[in-house]
C-alpha cells in the first residue's frame, strides 16, 4: 500500500482485469488458463455490480440471427463445459426457455422469429396452445401458444463469478478487492500500468470489464465509450414449491430488449431458482444510476406475473431489487482492443446478457491477447465502431 511497494514484482502482471463481475471473472479465467499472470481489480467485492442484481440468464431464445446470437451460441457451449468445471455450486440448470404469445398474430410472429433462428442452428420448437399446460401446468389459460427453446439455461450468477475467480486463482491469478481503478500509466502510447486507490499494478494489458461503469473507466484513460445504464427491477417471492419449471417470458420481451427507447418498458419474465424463490422481471428504463424505488414498476411486474401465472397472486413478495444493465446504443457488447490506446482492451456493454455471454467474451479476449485467431469474428464488437458511427 506504500508507494515503494507498488514497484515490487508482486504488483507486476501480464494482464489486469478491471471488474470482478461475471465478465471480468470469465476474462481472468481464460487469460489465466492461457498462462498469463493476471490480477483482477474491483472497487467493491466479488459480483457487487450488475452480476449481483441479475437472474443468471444464459439465453439463446431472445437473440435474433446475427453476431450476438453467434456469440451466445459459442457461450452456450462454453457454459456447458464450465458447468462441469465449476461444480454444483454454480447451479447451472439447462431448464429451457418458453416464450408465450397472447394472441394468434403474436404467435405467428414468434414462430417466424424462431424459423429464422433455426436457420442459424437454434433449436426451437413451436408449442400449440394445448401443449402449454404440459410444459407449464400453472400457466394462465387462453394463451395462443409459444415456442420452446431447450438450449436456454440458468446459472446462479454470483456463485458462478466467484467460482470462476477461484479457478482463476488456482491458475495463479490474484484478486485485488476494494481497489478502485483511478487511471492508467502509459509510455509511448502504450499501457504500462493500472493505477488503483491502493497503488500501481504494472501491466502491458488492461481489460476493461467494468460493466455498467466501463464508460467511466474508459474516461480515466481519456477515452469515450458509450456504455450507459438501463435500470431494471426484479421482484423476488418467498421460497415456493416448484411451480414454474422453465424460464417463461412473453413475446414482447424480445422487442423490449432490442428497443432503444429511454421510456419505461415492462415485459413479463418469470423463473424459479434452485433456492425456491421465483424471480419476476423485467423492466427497462434509462434513468441514469437512479437507485430510488419505483413501487409503480414493482406493482406492474407483480400484476403481469399474476396474470401469466394466476397461482402467484397468493405468493408473497419478500423483496425487490434494482440493477443497471450496461447498454450500448447498438445493443452489441464491446469486445476487443481499443485502437486509441495500445494495451487497452474492452469486454463490456453486454446489457442484460452479460452472464450468458461472459465465457465467450473471456475466451475471445484471451485469444486476442495471445494474438490467436478468435473463435468467431469480433469485428461487430470492436470498440472503434462508435467513432465510425459518429463520423460516418
Amino acid at each position: 500500500m506504500t508507494p515503494a511497494r507498488s514497484r515490487d514484482s508482486r504488483d507486476s502482471f501480464d494482464a489486469v482485469v478491471i471488474g470482478a463481475g461475471i465478465v471480468g471473472a470469465a476474462c481472468a479465467y481464460y487469460l489465466a488458463r492461457a498462462g498469463l499472470r493476471v490480477a483482477v481489480a474491483d472497487r467493491g467485492a466479488v459480483a457487487s455490480g450488475t452480476t449481483g442484481a441479475g437472474e443468471g440468464n444464459i439465453l439463446i431464445s431472445d437473440k435474433e440471427p446475427g453476431p450476438e446470437l453467434a456469440l451466445a451460441q459459442l457461450s452456450q457451449r462454453l457454459w456447458r463445459e464450465l458447468g462441469d468445471e465449476l461444480g454444483p455450486g454454480a447451479e447451472l440448470d439447462p431448464k429451457g426457455g418458453l416464450v408465450v404469445a397472447a394472441g394468434p398474430a403474436e404467435h405467428a410472429g414468434l414462430r417466424e422469429f424462431a424459423a429464422a433462428q433455426a436457420q442459424a442452428g437454434v433449436t426451437a420448437q413451436a408449442v400449440p396452445p394445448g401443449e402449454l399446460p404440459g410444459l407449464e401446468p400453472h400457466l394462465a389459460s387462453g394463451l395462443a401458444g409459444g415456442v420452446f427453446y431447450p438450449e436456454d439455461m440458468q446459472v446462479q450468477p454470483m456463485m458462478a463469478a466467484a467460482l470462476l475467480l477461484r479457478r482463476a486463482r488456482d491458475l495463479g491469478a490474484e484478486l485485488r478487492l476494494r481497489h478502485e481503478v483511478t487511471g492508467f500509466e502509459t509510455a509511448a502510447g502504450r499501457v504500462t500500468g493500472v493505477r488503483t486507490s491502493a497503488g500501481l499494478l504494472s501491466t502491458g494489458l488492461a481489460v476493461n470489464a467494468a460493466g455498467t461503469w466501463a464508460g467511466q473507466i474508459a474516461e480515466r484513460a481519456g477515452l469515450s465509450l458509450p456504455v450507459l445504464p438501463r435500470r431494471g427491477f426484479i421482484v423476488v417471492t418467498e421460497a415456493l414449491p416448484v411451480l414454474i419449471r422453465h424460464k417463461v417470458y412473453t413475446a414482447d420481451y424480445v422487442a423490449n430488449v432490442a428497443s432503444g427507447s429511454a421510456g419505461l418498458e415492462v415485459s413479463t419474465v418469470i423463473e424459479g431458482t434452485a433456492s425456491g424463490t421465483v424471480l419476476i422481471g423485467a423492466s427497462r428504463e434509462r434513468v441514469g444510476f437512479d437507485r430510488s424505488s419505483s413501487l409503480r414498476i414493482v406493482g406492474m411486474l407483480a400484476a403481469q406475473a399474476a396474470r401469466l401465472f394466476p397461482v402467484l397472486a397468493r405468493a408473497r413478495a419478500i423483496r425487490f431489487y434494482r440493477g443497471f444493465r450496461p447498454y450500448c446504443p447498438d445493443h452489441l457488447p464491446v469486445i476487443g482492443a481499443d485502437d486509441r490506446l495500445a494495451g487497452l482492451m474492452h469486454a463490456c456493454g453486454h446489457e442484460g446478457a452479460g452472464v450468458g455471454l461472459a465465457p465467450a467474451t473471456g475466451q475471445l479476449i484471451a485469444q486476442l491477447a495471445a494474438g490467436q485467431e478468435p473463435s468467431l469474428p469480433v469485428d461487430p464488437f470492436r470498440p472503434g465502431r462508435f467513432a465510425e458511427a459518429v463520423y460516418g
Binding site: 466479488v46 466467484a162 414449491p241 397461482v311 423483496r319
Partner: protein, 604 residues
C-alpha cells in the same frame, strides 16, 4: 375463568382460552414446535415472538404464512402446521379482491406502542387528523402487549400510564380525530416526490383479514415508531423449539397469560432480562437461572449518569429482590453457549466467560430446561425510515443502525419523524418522551399552532438517553460470542445457512453483508436478515476465513436494504401498478386535503 373457544389444529379439536395467540395455544398444549423447515425438515416454533422472524408460520383457514405469534385464535379456526414452504397450492383460497382504501390525513403514525400512541395523542391534541397503523391487533405495542386474558395488567409495567394514555387515545377515536388501523403491516413509506409543492407521504400496508388486502394512507407528516426486537445470537441448538427471544417469552405471557414452559433459563445481557425472569417466576415457571454476560457492578463506574436517572436504580433492585425471593440464581459473566435436545429443548449449556466473552474451558455446566429465553440487546426496526431516505447511523450493535433525529425528533427527511427505539434503544419512558415531542413537532409541521413540549419532557428525554448510553456501555454484546457457534450451527434461520457455509463464501471472496448474502444466502429468506444480519456482520468483522484477496479500504457498512418491510402477496403488490404518476397524485391529494381540512380546522 377465561372464556374458551373451540379450534381445530391439524385435525384435532382443541379448546383454548379466547383471545390468546395461536403460538400461545400451541405452547400451552405442550407443543413448542409446529412448523417443519423447507430444507432440513427441522421443527421450529416461536422465536422472536413479535412478528419479525417468521419462524412460527401456520396456515389458518386456508391462508398460509400466518404469524402464529401475532394472530389470535378465533372460534372455529382451522389451523394446520406447515411443512417446508408456507405456500399452499390450493385453488379454493379466494383471491384478494376488496377495493383498495386510500385515506388522507395530517399525520400518520406507524406503530401503536408507547412512542406511537403518545405521538398520536399529542398530534390529535393539537388538532391534527391522525391515522395510526399498527401490525398488532390491539393498541399497546410489544411493551404493553395484552389480550383478554391479561387485560388486568398483572404481567405489565406502567399499566396505569397505559390506561391513562389509552383513555385519551380512545377519546380521540370517538371524536374522529384519530383513526386506528390495527392489523396493518406497513411495507413501504414513500416520501413526497421532490419538486412538488403539495407534498404528501404515502403509507402502504397489507391489511384485512389475515393480511390479504391493500391499504394506503396519504399523510402530510409521518411519525415512525416501529420499535425494536431482541438480538439473538446463533449458538448450537438455538433453532430448537423452546429456544426463543426473551421478548418472546414475555409476549406469550403479556398477550395470553401463557408461560413459555416449565423450566426456564433466561440468558443474555441487559436489565431487560430481570423483568422477564420475574414475570415468568411470578406466573409459576421455574426459572433455573438468569445468565448475564455482563458485569452489572460496572454501573458504579458511571455515577454521574446514574444520578441523572436515579429512579431506575430502585426498580432494578426490586427485580433482584424478587428473583431472590423466588430463589433464582443470577450468574454474572456467564452465557448460554449451547442448547440441546431431540426435537425440542431439553438442556442448556452455560459457561463462564473470559474478559472478551469466550467460554472459559472447564466451566461448562448443563442445566435441564424446556425454555431458553435469550436476549443480547435490541435491534431497532428502521426499514421504513431507511427506505424513505432518512439518514441512519451506527447503533449499539453491528448492522443495527438507528435513525438520525433532530431535537424535534425529525429525521433528515422533512416531515418524517422517528420516536422510540427507532432512534436508539432506551425503553418505554424514553419512547413516551420522544413520542410526545414527535407528535407535537409533526402537528407544527402540518401547520397547527402548538406549544413546544414541556421542558420537563425535554429534560426527561436527555436524562433517559444518558441512562441508556450507560446501560449499553455496561451490557455490551460480548465480542467473544463468535467463538460459541460451531461450523454446523445454523446462523440464518430462514435459509438454514450454517456458519460453515458462511466460511466457504468468505473463502470465495465475500467480505461484506451484501457479498456474503449473494454467495451464501444469509438474509435472503422471510425475515430478510433481520435476525441474522447483526450476527453475520459481527462474524464478518471477526474474520470468517483466511484472506483470499488483497483488500484496500473497508468493506461497505451493512448496506442491506429491505425495500419491502413486510411480505406482500403479489396480488396486493399488483395494486401499486395503478398508482398514478407521482405529480398527478400530488395534485389530487392537494385538492382533497384542501377539501378535507375545514372539517378539522373547525375543531380548533
Amino acid at each position: 375463568m377465561a372464556e374458551q373457544v373451540a379450534i381445530t389444529v391439524d385435525g384435532a379439536e382443541w379448546s383454548v382460552a379466547a383471545g390468546i395467540t395461536i403460538a400461545a395455544a400451541f405452547t400451552e398444549r405442550g407443543q413448542p414446535g409446529w412448523r417443519r423447515t423447507r430444507l432440513r425438515g427441522e421443527p421450529r416454533g416461536v422465536s422472536c415472538g413479535i412478528g419479525v422472524c417468521f419462524d412460527c408460520l401456520v396456515t389458518v383457514n386456508g391462508t398460509p404464512g400466518v404469524r402464529a405469534c401475532l394472530a389470535e385464535v378465533r372460534p372455529g379456526d382451522v389451523i394446520s402446521s406447515e411443512n417446508g414452504s408456507s405456500f399452499a397450492d390450493d385453488q379454493s383460497v379466494p383471491e384478494p379482491a376488496p377495493a383498495p382504501t386510500v385515506d388522507r390525513c395530517d399525520v400518520a403514525v406507524v406503530g401503536a406502542g408507547p412512542a406511537g400512541l403518545t405521538a398520536a395523542v399529542a398530534a390529535a391534541d393539537a388538532g391534527c387528523a391522525v391515522q395510526v397503523l399498527d401490525l398488532g391487533e390491539r393498541p399497546g405495542g410489544q411493551y404493553w402487549r395484552w389480550g383478554p386474558a391479561t387485560a388486568d395488567g398483572r404481567f405489565h409495567h406502567g399499566w396505569a400510564a397505559f390506561t391513562a394514555l389509552r383513555e385519551r387515545f380512545d377519546a380521540h377515536r370517538a371524536g374522529g380525530q384519530i383513526i386506528y388501523r390495527p392489523g396493518h403491516a406497513v411495507f413501504q413509506l414513500q416520501p413526497p416526490p421532490e419538486a412538488t409543492t403539495a407534498s404528501a407521504f404515502r403509507v402502504h400496508a397489507v391489511a384485512g383479514d389475515r393480511e390479504r388486502d391493500y391499504a394506503s394512507v396519504l399523510a402530510q407528516a409521518v411519525v415512525v415508531a416501529t420499535g425494536a426486537y431482541d438480538l439473538q445470537l446463533p449458538v448450537p441448538g438455538w433453532t430448537l423449539p423452546g429456544v426463543m427471544a426473551a421478548g418472546a417469552a414475555q409476549s406469550l405471557l403479556k398477550s395470553s397469560a401463557v408461560t413459555a414452559g416449565h423450566r426456564v433459563v433466561v440468558a443474555g445481557t441487559g436489565p431487560f432480562l430481570l423483568p422477564v425472569a420475574v414475570g415468568l417466576a411470578q406466573a409459576g415457571a421455574r426459572v433455573v437461572a438468569v445468565v448475564e454476560a455482563g458485569q452489572p457492578l460496572d454501573y458504579l463506574r458511571h455515577p454521574a449518569g446514574l444520578a441523572a436517572s436515579w429512579r431506575k436504580l430502585p426498580e432494578a433492585g426490586g427485580y433482584l429482590a424478587r428473583l431472590a425471593r423466588h430463589r433464582v440464581p443470577v450468574l454474572r459473566r456467564h452465557a448460554a453457549i449451547a442448547a440441546r435436545g431431540d426435537g425440542r429443548l431439553e438442556s442448556v449449556t452455560v459457561a463462564r466467560l473470559d474478559q472478551v466473552g469466550r467460554p472459559v474451558p472447564g466451566t461448562e455446566r448443563t442445566l435441564a430446561a424446556d425454555v431458553l429465553a435469550a436476549g443480547y440487546g435490541f435491534v431497532p426496526q428502521v426499514e421504513l425510515l431507511g427506505e424513505a431516505g432518512a439518514q441512519l447511523s451506527g447503533g449499539a450493535q453491528p448492522a443495527s443502525p438507528v435513525a438520525v433525529a433532530g431535537p424535534d425528533q425529525q429525521t433528515t427527511v422533512p416531515g418524517l419523524f422517528a420516536a422510540g427505539e427507532t432512534t436508539g434503544i432506551g425503553g418505554s419512558d424514553l419512547a413516551r418522551a420522544e413520542g410526545e415531542i414527535a407528535g407535537r413537532a409533526a402537528a407544527r409541521f402540518v401547520g397547527r399552532p402548538v406549544a413546544p413540549p414541556p421542558r420537563a419532557v425535554v429534560r426527561e428525554r436527555a436524562a433517559l438517553r444518558r441512562f441508556a448510553a450507560i446501560m449499553q456501555a455496561v451490557h455490551p454484546v460480548p465480542s467473544g460470542w463468535t467463538h460459541w457457534p460451531a461450523d454446523d450451527t445454523i446462523v440464518c434461520r430462514c435459509e438454514e445457512v450454517t456458519l460453515g457455509r458462511l466460511r466457504a463464501a468468505a473463502a470465495l471472496g465475500a467480505d461484506d453483508a451484501r457479498s456474503i448474502k449473494l454467495l451464501a444466502r444469509p438474509g435472503m429468506g422471510w425475515c430478510q436478515g433481520r435476525i441474522c444480519g447483526p450476527p453475520v456482520a459481527a462474524l464478518l468483522a471477526a474474520g470468517l476465513s483466511e484472506p483470499t484477496a488483497e483488500r484496500a479500504g473497508h468493506p461497505a457498512a451493512s448496506g442491506l436494504s429491505r425495500p419491502l418491510a413486510q411480505p406482500v402477496p403479489l396480488g396486493v403488490l399488483a395494486r401499486l401498478a395503478a398508482l398514478d404518476d407521482p405529480a398527478e397524485t400530488e395534485a389530487a391529494s392537494a385538492e382533497d386535503a384542501a377539501g378535507a381540512r375545514p372539517d378539522h380546522e373547525g375543531k380548533m
